[in-house]
């Protein structure tokens, strides 16, 4: 009886606390990433398995909500953090991250990036990318707007994310600003009556859209691929906009204070390998930074491919977004 109690107490303790690694002699590479990357449905498990097969190490993820939360945590920890690699920042966060001086240059990586823009950065290694877009249901929306002005003039209802709490929300802010410059405020004023609501994050917005609360939702051009490949549902599509689409490039970098500097270097190289790149499309539902030799999964061929990629250089991003945010706030009625 007593033994039983002890055993169950131990089991409970095991459930609640981290168990020390069994093979303690193995070095541990700590990768900070956003939650959905490391989750069961993200690329995390496959990347971990693949890297551990060759590195003779133990890869351990530590997660934060998303890219911005990740940077916030790294800045909070300063030089006392345990991170060797931070994975999941984007171009809007790059300048801020660089200025902290907490990140180190990456090793020479021999990769032919297939990004829509030229990439040369001593610190940040891109691992995937995507375009923001409005996603809709083809069976319900027949008159698909081809730019922001047409969307604003249409009776269509949209759900967007708040730029202050969400990455896609910030992406949309930058998208309108890069397409319209000084005219962005007017575009937002015209869009005001199309916006059903503004949600804290992508999950809420997309969930409400699937429930039928709006005709369109701000997401990615790659979102329809999920429905097509995982659900055999071809009813979702992204609307191509003639202004071009705003680009999001997701990057990883090594910490200057990394305890496992060599392992971190080889992990960054591994990220650009075809092993990882082939996993990205159907787990992160983004485009891989380097198209694998075998090509993209079939469903990806049906996606819209914008002619024009809009993006602010990282160094300008901070100034632009502060200005764009105050325009957004006043246009949407505060």
């Amino acid at each position: 009886m007593k033994t039983k109690k002890t055993i169950s107490a131990l089991m409970i303790a095991g459930l609640l606390t981290a168990t020390p690694a069994l093979a303690e002699e193995k070095p541990v590479l700590t990768v900070y990433t956003y939650d959905s990357f490391a989750s069961e449905w993200g690329p995390g498990p496959a990347v971990e398995k693949g890297f551990e097969a060759s590195c003779g190490c133990d890869l351990k993820y530590v997660t934060a909500g998303d890219g911005a939360a990740l940077l916030s945590r790294v800045m909070m920890e300063g030089t006392h953090g345990k991170a060797d690699v931070v994975l999941g920042l984007d171009m809007n966060l790059m300048a801020q991250a660089r200025n902290t001086g907490l990140f180190a240059e990456h090793p020479k990586i021999d990769a032919e990036y297939t990004l829509p823009i030229a990439w040369e950065d001593p610190v940040f290694v891109p691992f995937d990318w995507g375009y923001f877009a409005f996603v809709y249901d083809k069976t319900k929306v027949k008159d698909v707007p081809t730019d922001f002005k047409a969307l604003a003039a249409s009776p269509l209802k949209i759900i967007i994310e708040d730029p202050r709490s969400s990455t896609p929300g910030l992406g949309l802010l930058m998208w309108v600003k890069s397409a319209y410059g000084d005219g962005a405020a007017q575009v937002w004023k015209d869009l005001a009556d199309n916006i059903v609501t503004v949600t804290p994050g992508w999950s809420e917005a997309y969930g409400l859209f699937l429930k039928g609360e709006s005709d369109m939702v701000l997401s990615y051009t790659t979102s329809p691929a999920y429905h097509l490949i995982a659900e055999q549902d071809d009813s979702k599509a992204a609307a191509p906009f003639t202004e071009g689409h705003y680009l999001q490039v997701e990057v990883a970098a090594k910490m200057a204070g990394a305890q496992q500097s060599d392992l971190a270097d080889s992990f960054l190289t591994y990220l650009t390998s075809s092993d990882v790149q082939a996993v990205i499309p159907e787990t992160n539902w983004m485009y891989p930074a380097i198209t694998p030799a075998a090509g993209l999964p079939t469903g990806f061929g049906t996606l819209i491919t914008p002619d024009k990629a809009l993006v602010f250089p990282p160094a300008e991003a901070k100034k632009v977004r502060d200005e764009a945010l105050s325009e957004w706030l006043s246009a949407l009625g505060r």
Binding site: L15, L16, V62, K82, A192, T199, G207, S223, L332, G333
Partner: protein, 521 residues
């Protein structure tokens, strides 16, 4: 009242320890963020607008919920009907839902594509436009009306049955009953009820923004998010967290001026049967109110269940483990919250500044920003231990702290009555300490204890807050798994996960609450 000088009793020591612990978790964590960040900026005009909006929506939600709860609880006390117990238990359910799940349930009913909009579409009517202040208040009332009903119901049960008999034998009319029994009871119960709901709505974030329809509905909590992750300015976040505490402090102090014991005196702990005179039509009035409230509360719950049910068998095995983990954590949080609250109540029942400090501290965690508290705790723990390794114990502690205000609010009125009714007798008989707790206090407190334990457990079960900040991907709780599923496009499976979450929280709540309601009084 002259107090004899005596050594610090065990109860008082525990009370002070609980006060100190809670202060560390709330004010201490905010200070930790501030110390790490350096000088705090002053609030700007945008911040004051957020404060104003936050306070206004919280006040409106609290007043409306409480005003509606009075007739509902009266109807529940006056009418005996089959299913009454079930209805009172159902009253616990909305409150226990994670915000996101509740929002989806509400929108399934009241949204643009919801049941009502679809039902009126054939009549040529436009879909309901719920987004805006009305949406926020509707959602907050959905969340908090049941809590208000239960808190006021508790007040009814604290009136000794003898008073009702006396009223009946004296031939009281409905007005006399209202003036001499109901009003004094409401005077004790309502301020605390309104305060609690006000504080809950103060930190509302997902609900306020999503149903508020845009940046017009910017709350202080959203401004904290912005400070942390848009501006990378933790000092601003801590400053805003402190503003939230200040709001809480003002509201709590203001409420304490009104709260006073009703002074019904002690009774013989007989069950209540209210057999007093009622106005003509009272029966129809009560039935109508109960029917409307039942429909209002159960429709979104039903929507959540219907949405998830078809996908129950698509759930990954990892959800079962997450559910087990959440259950253990919920029970642990509940036990801890009860212990802290009882210890705190020991001090809070005293007259004077010590009692006030304990009571205010007990409410403080309700207005703590989860984001600031989590970050501060992270900063405090980091020099001592790897925060990721203690993610779950830390979450248990934070969840317990978050539940203390509710537990305290539920226990205090009853404790005050017990103190007033039996305190002097017990003192004169020398019944103190543990025997007093066991023989005098706990048996009379069983009903609120059960309710409080259930509430604390279920709240912990549904909490998403702090665990996500500590970042251990291998030890997710059920709400976090549901949120992850939503983030990975798996909306349907997430809906099924939400049903499991709802059923588990509700079962925990039901078990504890039933134990309490089987009490003699």
């Amino acid at each position: 009242m002259a107090e004899r000088a005596r050594p610090l009793s065990l109860g008082a020591a525990a009370g002070w320890l609980a006060t100190a612990g809670l202060l560390l978790l709330t004010v201490g964590t905010t200070a930790a963020v501030l110390v790490r960040a350096g000088a705090a900026p002053r609030p700007g005009p945008g911040d004051w607008a957020a404060v104003q909006f936050t306070a206004l929506q919280a006040a409106a939600s609290a007043l409306i919920s409480a005003a509606l709860a009075v007739p509902v609880s009266r109807a529940l006390v006056r009418r005996i009907f089959p299913g009454r117990g079930a209805l009172i238990t159902l009253m616990g359910a909305p409150f226990l839902l994670p915000g996101l799940v509740a929002v989806i349930g509400i929108l399934e009913v009241f949204g643009r594509a919801g049941w009502i909009s679809r039902a009126i579409a054939p009549l040529g009517l436009a879909p309901l436009q719920i987004y805006g202040p009305a949406g926020i208040i509707l959602a907050h009332v959905f969340f908090n009306l049941p809590l208000a009903v239960r808190l006021i119901l508790q007040g009814w049960h604290d009136i000794p049955a003898e008073r009702f008999r006396l009223a009946a034998s004296l031939g009281f009319g409905p007005r006399d009953v209202a003036r001499l029994l109901e009003w004094p009871m409401l005077r004790t119960t309502l301020p605390g009820t309104i305060l609690t709901i006000f504080l809950i709505c103060l930190t509302s974030f997902v609900v306020a923004l999503t149903l508020g329809g845009g940046p017009r509905a910017t709350t202080v909590e959203l401004a904290i998010y912005q400070a942390f992750r848009f501006e990378f300015d933790p000092a601003r976040a801590a400053m805003l967290g402190a503003v939230q505490f200040a709001l809480c402090l003002c509201a709590t102090l203001a409420t304490m001026r009104f709260a006073a014991g009703a002074g019904f005196g002690a009774g013989l702990d007989r069950p209540i049967r209210i057999i007093v005179a009622q106005a003509a039509g009272a029966r129809i009035h009560d039935v109508a109110i109960l029917l409307m409230v039942t429909a209002f509360l159960s429709a979104p719950l039903l929507a959540v269940v219907l949405a998830g049910l078809p996908y129950l068998f698509d759930m990954p095995a990892s959800l079962a483990l997450a559910a087990l983990r959440s259950l253990i954590m919920a029970v642990a949080s509940s036990a801890l919250a009860l212990g802290i609250a009882l210890a705190l109540a020991h001090v809070a029942l005293r007259a004077g500044p010590a009692g006030k400090l304990a009571e205010v501290t007990g409410m403080l965690s309700l207005s703590a920003s989860p984001l600031v508290m989590g970050t501060g705790l992270f900063l405090l723990l980091r020099p001592l231990i790897d925060p990721t390794a203690v993610a779950l114990p830390a979450t248990v502690a934070v969840n317990a702290a978050m539940a203390v205000p509710f537990v305290l609010r539920i226990l205090l009125p009853g404790l005050r009555e017990i103190q007033a009714g039996y305190g002097r007798l017990s003192d004169s008989l020398g019944v103190t300490g543990w025997p007093r707790l066991r023989l005098v206090t706990l048996p009379r407190l069983r009903r609120p204890l059960g309710f409080a334990a259930g509430l604390a457990a279920a709240l912990a079960m549904g909490d998403l807050g702090v665990i996500a900040l500590f970042g251990d991907p291998d030890r997710a709780t059920l709400p976090l798994e549901v949120f992850r599923l939503m983030g990975a496009y798996r909306t349907n499976v997430a809906a099924a996960g939400a049903v499991v979450l709802l059923v588990l929280s509700f079962t925990l709540f039901w078990i504890c609450d039933r134990w309490g309601r089987n009490a003699r009084t």
